[in-house]
Structure formats: structure tokens, C-alpha cells
């Protein structure tokens, strides 16, 4: 029954008991609504047919309601609505009270990505890993405008407000991958502010978290982007790419030449960039560094100034590594002869 109604109503998979409870209320509301609709419209259509005008000089009687009519018109819907409300409000209150002992994850929304930080240090971009069957409390905030953290599979949504923390919680019991959306309009790439909730078997999660805490798996969030013409082999390049991925540079800047929220990184180094002021500047080390620290100073023509400052968020060696990485992004020379398979290793092995 649940499965049938869920599919009929096009609801996503249910990843938690809360989702199943909310869907239960959903079915109740829909079934009552449909029942009431059928009753009202059958009556209305019956009246329309039965009392259609048969001649131009038809007379009609005066029919006025009695008190019990009005009492019925008010009482029945009021009772139904209040019942729905009582159930729904109970679920809402439940959602606003995380159980003691829930694991905390700090969620930070910013244009246009999600950052998840776990107690003890590890953090990840856009991928939230949680253990199945254990309650998780999310402490949510935003760095810029209002975002809204939304997981349809959990039937949970909570606004991320700049300057304050909001909270919600869930207990996902079905291992799997679920979509995370930003549900509050936040500008140019609002619809690209996607993330993924990965519900892992508890043992796997514990192992993953331990590994993260050892700092051994930086590469998790630095998978190579398809089409990236990068020759590995230099450790500083590798480090620069990891930093660029972790800082979220690659969310807005492509490495394959395609236009995105910001200019592409491909062939950026020493390119002549036309600024919004009309001035032409070479994208040398000085320009690139300044653009990271004070993005508003020299904006490339045709792009919006939406980039946050990275002042204080990267150490000088990291900045240098990113610069080296940018410099390495060159369109590869066309090679003659048949390809011999992958020319670079796609992902550093785990």
C-alpha cells in the first residue's frame, strides 16, 4: 500500500522513519481530499445536470440554509483540518528536537556549494556521509545569502541563514545515495548547488571517519575532472589540484575550456584578460594571486563578481601550489599517431 501510493504520488524513496511517517500523513491528506472532492463535484455535477435550464421562463424557489447546514459546513472541515494539523505539528516538533547523543555535523552553505564538517576536523564538499541507523544532527549556517538544505529522501529541509545557526536532524536507515538540493533561491548557480547524502553502513562510516581523521584521504574530494589535461608527476601540481578542489575553485572555474560561473582555468596563465573596466591585463602570478585574495578588484568582463575572498583561507604554500597548478593547465599539443590509452592516471589511488 505504501509503495503503491508512494509511486502514484511520485514521492522519492523513503530514507528514514520520519519520511515514512510524513508520507503516511501525506496519503491520509490526499485520500481525504480526493474523497471530499469526489463528493463535492459529484453533487455539483448532479445539480448541473438535474437543474439545467430547460426553458427560458423557469422559476426557482428560494432555498435558505438552516443552522445545522452551516454548522456542518464549518464543523466537518474544521475537524478534519485540525486532525491533520495535530499529526503534522507533532511530526514538526519531533523534527525540531534532536535526540540526545546524535552525531553533530556542521553544514555551511555558500554560493554555490555545501561544506560539511565533522567533529574532530574532517570536512567534505557537497558529499555528506552519515552512518545508517544513527541519529545525525545538522547545525546549519550560511556564509553569504540564505540557502536551504533539502533532502527529498528524508523529507527534511532547513534554511541556512547567514549569521546564525539553525538545526535539524534525521536518522537515515536505508544505506544509499540521496540528492541534496539548495531550496532557497541564491542566485546564478542556485540550481547547480547540489550535493549528495551518502548513507553508509555504520561500520563503513566509522572506518571512513577514522581514515579522514588520520588525514590520509585528502584525495576524496579531489577527483580529477574529466578532460583535464594535466600531466601528473610533480608533487606541487598534485597538491595544487587538491587544494583547488578542496577550496571549491573548480565548482566555478572549469579546466577544460568551457565557460562556467568564472573564467576557465585552461590556458589562463599569461592570457590577456579583458576586465569589466575595459582594461587589458595579463593573467600573471600577480594578477592570479590578487584575484584570489581580492576578487572584486579586477573582474573579467562578462562575468559577475560572485567569488569570495580566499584571504586567510589558504596558507602561502597552498597559494603557490594552486598557482603552479594553474600554470600547468595548457591545451595539450596535438599528438600524431594512435593513442596508447590514457596518457595520465585519472585518480590517485586510495
Amino acid at each position: 500500500m505504501n509503495e503503491l501510493l508512494r509511486r502514484l504520488l511520485n514521492l522519492p524513496e523513503q530514507a528514514s522513519q520520519h519520511a515514512r511517517d510524513v508520507d503516511g500523513l501525506h496519503y491520509f491528506v490526499v485520500l481525504v481530499t480526493m474523497g471530499a472532492g469526489i463528493a463535492i463535484f459529484t453533487t455539483a455535477f448532479w445539480f448541473m445536470v438535474r437543474y439545467r435550464r430547460r426553458s427560458q421562463d423557469e422559476k426557482t424557489p428560494e432555498v435558505q440554509p438552516r443552522h445545522w447546514h452551516e454548522a456542518l459546513f464549518v464543523g466537518v472541515p474544521l475537524a478534519v483540518f485540525l486532525l491533520w494539523f495535530a499529526i503534522g505539528f507533532g511530526q514538526y516538533v519531533d523534527l525540531s528536537q534532536p535526540p540526545p547523543g546524535a552525531m553533530d555535523v556542521f553544514v555551511q552553505g555558500k554560493k554555490w556549494m555545501w561544506k560539511f564538517a565533522y567533529p574532530g576536523g574532517p570536512s567534505s564538499l557537497d558529499v555528506l556521509r552519515v552512518p545508517a541507523g544513527r541519529p545525525v544532527r545538522l547545525l546549519i549556517t550560511s556564509r553569504d545569502v540564505i540557502h536551504s538544505f533539502f533532502v527529498p529522501g528524508l523529507r527534511v529541509k532547513q534554511d541556512a541563514l547567514p549569521g546564525r545557526y539553525t538545526q535539524t536532524w534525521f536518522n537515515a536507515d536505508q544505506p544509499g545515495r540521496y540528492q541534496i538540493f539548495c531550496a532557497e533561491y541564491c542566485g546564478l548557480s542556485h540550481s547547480g548547488m547540489l550535493g549528495e547524502l551518502v548513507v553508509m553502513p555504520p561500520a563503513d562510516f566509522d572506518a571512513w571517519l577514522a581514515e579522514q581523521r588520520r588525514g590520509a584521504a585528502l584525495a576524496q574530494d579531489a577527483a580529477a575532472t574529466p578532460g583535464e589535461p594535466l600531466m601528473l608527476g610533480s608533487s606541487i601540481l598534485e597538491q595544487g589540484r587538491v587544494v583547488a578542489a578542496q577550496q571549491g575553485c573548480l565548482k566555478c572555474h572549469s579546466v577544460d575550456g568551457s565557460r562556467h560561473i568564472g573564467p576557465t582555468f585552461l590556458d589562463l596563465y599569461r592570457r590577456q584578460e579583458k576586465l569589466s573596466t575595459g582594461e587589458l591585463v595579463p593573467a600573471d602570478e600577480a594578477y592570479l594571486t590578487r584575484s584570489m585574495m581580492d576578487p572584486a578588484a579586477q573582474v573579467v568582463a562578462g562575468y559577475q563578481n560572485v567569488m569570495p575572498s580566499f584571504q586567510g583561507r589558504m596558507t602561502p604554500p597552498e597559494v603557490a601550489a594552486v598557482l603552479e597548478y594553474l600554470k600547468s593547465l595548457k591545451t595539450p599539443a596535438v599528438q600524431a599517431g594512435p593513442s596508447e590509452g590514457p596518457v595520465y592516471e585519472s585518480t590517485p589511488s586510495k
Partner: protein, 556 residues
Amino acid sequence: MSPRPASSAPVFAERNYLNTPATGLRSWLTTRDHKRIGVMFLVAALIAFAIGGFFALLIRLELLTPGPTIMDAMSYNRIFTLHGVVMIFLFMIPAIPSGFGNFLVPIMVGAKDVAFPRLNLLSFYLYLLGAVIALAGMVYGGADTGWTFYTPYSTTTPTKVVPILLGAFILGFSSILTGLNFIVTTHTLRAPGITWNKLPLFVWSIYATSVIQILATPVLGMTLLLVAIEHAFGWGIFDPARGGDPVLFQHFFWFYSHPAVYIMILPAMAVMSEVVCAFSRKNIFGYKAVAYSSLGIAFVGFFTWGHHLFTSGQSPYNAGVFGVLSMFVGIFTAIKVFNWVATMYRGSISFTTPFIYFVGFLFFLFFGGMTGVALATVSLDIHWQDTYFVVAHFHFIMVGSTMMAFLAALHYWWPKITGRMYNERWGLVAAVFVILGFVFTFLPQFLLGNEGMPRRYYSYPERYWALNVASTAGASVLALGFMIVLAYILVALKHGAVAGADPWGSRGYEWLTASPPPLENFDELPAFERGPHEYHDLPAASPQAPPGAARGASHG
């Protein structure tokens, strides 16, 4: 298509407001006649509707494929903002109250004009000024905030948000002046014989609307001004980076904008209370219940705004209070729906275009209203908030119900306003297109919302593709329906059959005067002995038989 009985030739009133005192453009632009001002509002609102509708089609076209289709993300964000701003501030809010309300309220209370005719004209010019400023802002840059202008996005966006805010600010004054005029007119200018309990239901609902307009609109004005100030001068009011509070904006904004929803739906209910009586030829079932429930909606509507903030982190106590109060809007609406249906009982129902729109209205209001109640059921809202479910819900109310009412009003009062009939057959054809097109546009959006697709998304995951295609296809049918309406009403302006004073056999007071009405509304003021919805004493053959064009369709 004109089996008109030759015997009772209806008369086109020769001296009417359209040619008295003059017909020139100047006489229109300087008029203080409420009927002309009403007509000018209607024309302006229809132009705004065409612009807003064009944007709607662009939105639906863009969403035809999951990725970029016809525009980039920035253009899309601007266009959905403009769609909302134009449709709400330039069409929905003024169309029925300022358009039909201006034309009808004074006639329905037996007055010669509104209480303050000069303010009335000022209201129209403020509307124009606000519209021009907003549209200029749209041409020179546009804004990308959505019509809700949520801070701090709206105060930090580099787009030109200030002209649009100022435009909406000025439009607010237009709305306030119109509301003020109606309230004073209803209180002071009722003709002898028209007691409060003999007031047409249309006037009751417009009255309730006016109360909301003058109480809530100032709050919107102040709020938009604060946003404009923060955007222009960087004062920290709503942006936490400058010490402000972003949620405060949401409270301010919805304190107006939720009642504003009732500014949009109450006039629709006003129209339908008239239409259901006229075309069922039947006394309204429960006059007082229908009349007072409008006031109930206006009153309770002020205490429900927090149901827009269930996900904003407000306390559960707030959510509980706002949720329960929201249910009462549903109760008042349910009273009306039951009474309208009961009005048809033992009536004499004529299936003309306005009545078909009434049926559509009833359908959309029921499902739009019930989904509204479902959204007030707090935990369900958490899933639906800011998804296409909400989009579908409020389009069912605003487009479904209010647009059906607007079209019903347009057809029902067209003979009164222009003195001529539209083509009934085309009217029915268009009504079918509009209603079906509407269903196919917005029904898929409920399912999209259930599946979790957020609103204001320029691109979307591929699993939402099929339903988006269905929605876009429906929108094309809807647009076609509107074009048919536009075509035949323009033809009817010149070539429509002469309507006569009361082509529908309606007992509403406005049908007691000639069509089009004379400048002073009534050549000789009627006694107003019976109520405006009394049909039970209908004489066997009404002295002015209605033209057959309006009836032929129901008999096949």
C-alpha cells in the same frame, strides 16, 4: 450563431459613458468617471498580463530540457523575477478590484461615482507611474531576486533591483487609494434601499479586499523601501554582514504578501458569488455566510504570514500558532464552496461561458485550497516548501481561481461594459482550452514538487524531465486559449450583437441600468426593493428577454 428572437430587440444605449461627455483621448485621460477609470485599469492590466504571460512562456520553454535551452541562467533568473512582479503587482492585484471593482462598485451601491473621483484618477496614474518605473528597471538591467526579494540576496545582488522596488512601492499607493475609495463609497454612498444586508456579494468581497489593501500595503511599502535603502546605501537592516536580520525581512514581507494573496482571491470569490446566482437563476444559499466569510478571510489572513517561515528556524510555538490560524482560512473558503454548490440546488442552470469558468474556478479553488491546507499541515510543508508543489498550489489559486474569475467577469460584464455580446461559441471553445491547458500545465508540477524539484531552478536533474515537458505542453494550450479569447473579444467590441440592459436575466443591481451605462450610472434611480440575488419572485416572462446567443449553446 445568433438565434436571437427578433421581437425583443435589445437596445444599445445611445448616450452612455463611452461617448459622454466626449470620446477623445483627452477626455479619457482626464476623466473622473469610475467606469472609464475601471476600463483603463482593465486595459492596462490586460497588457501587463500579456507581458507576464510572455515571460511565463519563456520560463516554460527554458524548462523544456534539463540543461540550458534558450537562455542563460542570468536571463532565466531575471525572467522569473519579472514574471512574478508583473503578474502580481501589475495584473493580479489591480485587475479585479481596480478594474471591475471600479466599474461596478458604484453602480452596485446605486451611486453616481466613487467617493473620491480625483483620488481614483490619481490611483490610475500612480499605477502607470509604478508600472513604467518597474518596466524601465526591467529593460535597463532587470533584477534577479525573485518577486519575494529575499534578503540578503536582494540587497547584495549587482542587478538593478532598486527601480523595481520603487515601482512596487508606488504601485502600493495606487492600491491603497483604490481601497480607501471603495471603503468610503460603500459606507457613505449606498442608495436608499440598499442596506448592508442587501449589498451585492461582489461589493462585500471587494470591501474585505479594500480593508486588506489599506492595512497591509503600507507595510510592504516600508519594507521595500528598506531593501532599496540597504541596496543603494549599504545600511545594515537585513544583511547580517552589516548587522541586520534577514528573517526580519521575511516577517515584514509576508505580513503584507500573505494578506495580498487574499487581495487576489477575494475579488475572485466576489465575481463568482455573482456569477453562480445569475447563471443558476437562484437566490444565493446563505447570503450572510458568504458575505461575512469574506470578512473572516480578510481578518484571519493577517495572522497567518508565519506559515511561509516553517523552514526558517522559527520556534515550534510560532509554527503551531501560524499553522492553526491558517486552517481557518480554509474553513471560510469551505463555507463559500459549500454555499455556492448549494446555490445550484433547484436552480435553472445556464451553461454559458461565465458559468463554465465558474465550474473551472470551483475545481481549481477546491484543489488549490486543499493543497493550501495541506501545506499548513506543518510537517508536510517541510518537504514541499520552495518546491514545485508550492508553485502548483499558488498557481491553482492565483491563475486557476483568480484567472477563471477574471475571465468569468470579463464575459459576464462584457455586455454591461461595452454594450455588446461576445461570440458565445468561441467563448466556450476558449474556456475549454484555458481550463484544460491550465490543468496540464500545473498538475505535473504537483508531482514534480512531491518528487522534490525545487522552484527557481534553471536546470534540473533528468528524472524531472518528462513532467516538465508535460507542463510546457500544457502552457502552450493555455496560451492558445488566451489568444482565442483576445481575438473574439476584440471582434465583439465592434461586431458583437447588441446586448441590451440585461442579457443574462440577472437580478444584480448593475443590470437595472442601460448597457453601456450612462455617465451618471442610472437615468432614474431604481427603488432597490429586492435584494441583488433574489430570483424566486422572477416574473414568468422577463420584460427584456435575453438574447438567444447566450442561451443557444446550452440547448444544443
